[in-house]
Amino acid sequence: MPETQLKQKLLFLYLGNSSLESEVVGWSYYDGTTDEMFEAAGEDAEPPYNSVLDAMRDGWRVIQVPFIKAPQVGREYENDYLDFEFVLEKMEAING
């Protein structure tokens, strides 16, 4: 009898604002249940969800929300990484 294991899927959604209802501006997918590799899907690619809330309604569990922070003094005009990164997970039972 094959052993059942819980395996994790992670979905990173990057939003335009801190609200979980704001629009998705970027996304990444890491799936521990498969050997398939995910990468950039090309310029016509559509995000899997329009917002984090939409993903929650589809069963994704939010495990990290971004801090909202003021820019450091003197760095008010500097941008760097994507600002609003939400991490979501789904666990899947896999046989064997």
């Binding site: 990173f12 335009g16 629009e23 998705v24 970027g26 990468e39 950039a40 310029e43 500097e78």
Partner: protein
């Protein structure tokens, strides 16, 4: 230099906003084939001395003829001026059936220059369909300071542009733009020739400025890049600062973005 071949102000404003310009079919197909032959036979493997004048490398090679084409030379002139410096080049090969995975990056986190910039040119010597995995660019990333490949976690960003093009297409890009090579799912090796150039003069009004006051210039500078989200206004302010640098006009503004911040009157009204 034929002024009519230089970039227009509208094109420069587009470059200031998105960080790259694309030109299709710039290089005739025969010359593309000759350059491709040089790449695939390893003739371009050796690099010229870093920092040497760009006029020196490849006096007889097809790749030299590519970059001396009048329109190509004019675009280079518009971005980095006369007598640019050769930095490095690479005939990037993505072999047939190669998975690249996610590899978004910015080339040079150590290059912390505020406004001066180098350019990179991506030249596609063969037809490059989607499945062969031409370079992917993320418009509007040129003012973002990140540490090279630390952005590798990002797989997709709204508005990303992948080079899907015919032979002879070139992308001219600000070296700080985020980009990645893509997987080649075809049975054919794919080459992309990359060249980095440094300016040796101040990058100011090097293009054809006849249309500098055209409303289309402000339109191009004002454009909203979807992934900027809540950071759009700060991106806009950086773009205005860059345009001031490029035009040498320290008062340029779109509406009053900098005009408000710079408005710190010192006039004391007597009896106020």
């Amino acid at each position: 230099m034929d002024k009519n071949l230089l970039l227009t102000s509208v094109e420069m404003a587009q470059f200031a906003s998105t960080g790259f310009l694309r030109f299709d079919n710039l290089v005739p197909r025969e010359l593309c084939e000759a350059a491709h032959e040089e790449m695939s036979t390893g003739k371009l493997r050796r690099r010229a001395p870093m920092g040497s004048p760009f006029s020196e490398p490849w006096p007889d090679e097809a790749i030299g003829k590519v970059f001396r084409l009048p329109k190509v030379a004019a675009i280079i002139h518009s971005l980095v001026g006369p007598n640019p410096r050769y930095d490095h080049h690479a005939a990037h090969l993505t072999p047939a059936n190669t998975r690249k995975g996610a590899n978004l990056h910015q080339d040079a986190e150590y290059d912390i220059r505020d406004l001066h910039f180098d350019i990179q040119i991506s030249f596609f010597p063969e037809d490059t369909p989607l499945e062969s995995g031409g370079t992917l660019f993320v418009p509007g990333t040129q003012f973002r300071r990140v540490h090279e490949a630390e952005i590798k976690r990002y797989q997709n960003i709204i508005g990303q542009v992948q080079a899907v093009c015919e032979a002879g297409t070139m992308f001219f890009w600000h070296t700080n733009i985020w980009h990645s090579a893509r997987s080649n799912f075809t049975d054919r090796d794919r080459y992309m020739f990359k060249l980095r150039l440094n300016p040796t003069v101040r990058q100011q009004r090097l293009w054809n400025t006849d249309d500098l006051d055209s409303p289309e210039v402000k339109q191009a500078l004002n454009q909203k890049i979807p992934w900027h989200g809540q950071r759009h206004r700060i991106e806009l302010m950086n773009r205005i600062k860059f345009w001031r640098f490029l035009t040498g006009d320290p008062t340029f503004d779109l509406a009053l973005w900098w005009g408000r911040v710079e408005n710190t009157p010192d006039i004391i009204v007597q009896g106020g």
